[in-house]
Amino acid sequence: MGVQKTYAEINERIRQGKAVVVTAEEVIQLVKTEGLTETARKVDVVTTGTFSPMCSSGVYLNFGHSAPRIRGHKVWLNGVPAYGGIAAVDTYLGATALPDDDPLNSSFPGEFRYGGGHVIHELVAGKPVTLKVWSYGTDCYPRREIETEVTLDQLNEAVLFNPRNAYQNYNVAVNCGSRTIYTYMGMLKPHMANIHYSTSGQLSPLLKDPHFRTIGVGTKIFLGGGEGYVAWNGTQHFPSVQSGPAENSILAAGGTLTVLGDLKGMSPKWLLGASFIGYGATMVVGIGIPIPILDEEVLRYAALSDADLYAPVVDYSDAYPNRKPESLGLLSYAELKSGWVTIKGKEIPSAPLSSYSKAKEIAEILKDWIQGGKFELTVPVKTLPTPADGVVGKPMPDKGTSGVK
């Protein structure tokens, strides 16, 4: 009879201060030395972490009513436009939003020094942010313009609400073309002179639960330094798990999460504005997810190492921008993390865009929270689509012509 544990049993041990919690890095060695069954018996929770640029992020907020009242039709925070298409004093500020007067890529490559992610960082840091609202005026909301300063404390609500975060796995980007390209995967030199990847590999939350056995709607998580929840599957959630080239290795892809949490409980350390030259602004988000070790099968995946996890290599000079389904092969995170990889016989320096050391810090913090009895695990109220559900992406129906840069 294999090991079987319930959330209730694990939470009881957390309350008694007896839960055994290890990070997704620590568990790998533990399984190697003590075996799967013994480790599954011993370990209650494995903590994961990621600290990466996550563009599909933002905050919705309610800034309260002025006297006389105004119905925000257009809203700016520190000059960055926020969405005015919801109720009078509610708005949504996206991480990639840019000031109206940003030069963008008119002088290529643009710098994109300040965007929505930077505003969110300043809000979390408690700094005053300029709020500008414009309206057309109505009988019930007569005021047409207001410019004031707000801080996070003064807002009624500020909720980080990220439609697509924690990408399970991601393309490894290389440039086969003949000029430097500026992408969301960073600066890629021509003729495959460098290669970039962007997950925390063996610490990455969704790579450690690729069949979504434990991560579902309602799962409580570390989000931006505070507590958050999985609200739904993320957009473009197309999970799949295939066998990798090495024995027992996997190529998992496509799983994503929608997450949310109270911005007022978060930290500027774990929500950072970021600028990708030639591409745009975004936000680096810290996420950590606990995986309850319910049985050996859950542990087997949670204990996969960088050598067992593969990612596809994609040419960002042609295949990616033109949506050609071509791959230059697979690389393991062990190869990618070593700093040098070989593609088509060429040795290429590899670099991450996702901070492994910060991801590890997040997994450690979450471990401390759970061990300290501050953080209990939640049973998902609904499971997310799994690889077995076979959800696949639909391309955009292209019914017109449009220009290309």
Binding site: G186, N194, L353
Partner: protein, 133 residues
């Protein structure tokens, strides 16, 4: 002989003098200009590697012409508070000055190796690398 990387700051008055020529001809120094922004009648900067037996005399000569000389290592600055050790700069850096320490996966900046190409200041998503001239 190990070459030293230095930054020269030219006042407007000596920007049109062929000082580097005299460094080579009269002091027999080896120069390797990395970056220069020199315009007639304007203040300018020049970054170069310099080596040779008469290094000190050569430096004394250009200082006597009113040019400020500083070592280069202080010129690209890493803001430790901002850096998140993501690594985005490390494969872009052509000189190996920025690299990842394994297995901790922390980014290290070795100013000695830096050639001040400034690619890192563009590649860094959180603007932790700054050029200071």
């Amino acid at each position: 002989m190990k070459s030293k990387k230095i930054v020269l700051r030219f006042p407007a008055t000596s920007a049109d003098q062929p000082l580097i020529y005299y460094l080579v001809k009269d002091y027999d120094l080896v120069v390797n200009i990395i970056k220069a922004n020199i315009n007639p009648h304007k203040e300018g900067t020049l970054i170069m590697e310099l080596s040779g037996a008469n290094y000190e005399q050569g430096i004394e000569y250009i200082r006597s012409c009113g040019v400020q000389v500083q070592p280069l290592t202080e010129e690209i600055v890493r803001n430790h508070d901002r850096c998140i050790s993501c690594g985005a700069c490390t494969a872009v850096c052509p000189s190996g000055a920025l690299y990842i320490e394994r297995p901790e996966m922390n980014v290290v900046f070795d100013g000695e190796q830096c050639i001040v190409c400034q690619l890192c200041t563009r590649a860094c998503p959180v603007r932790a690398m700054e050029a200071r001239f």
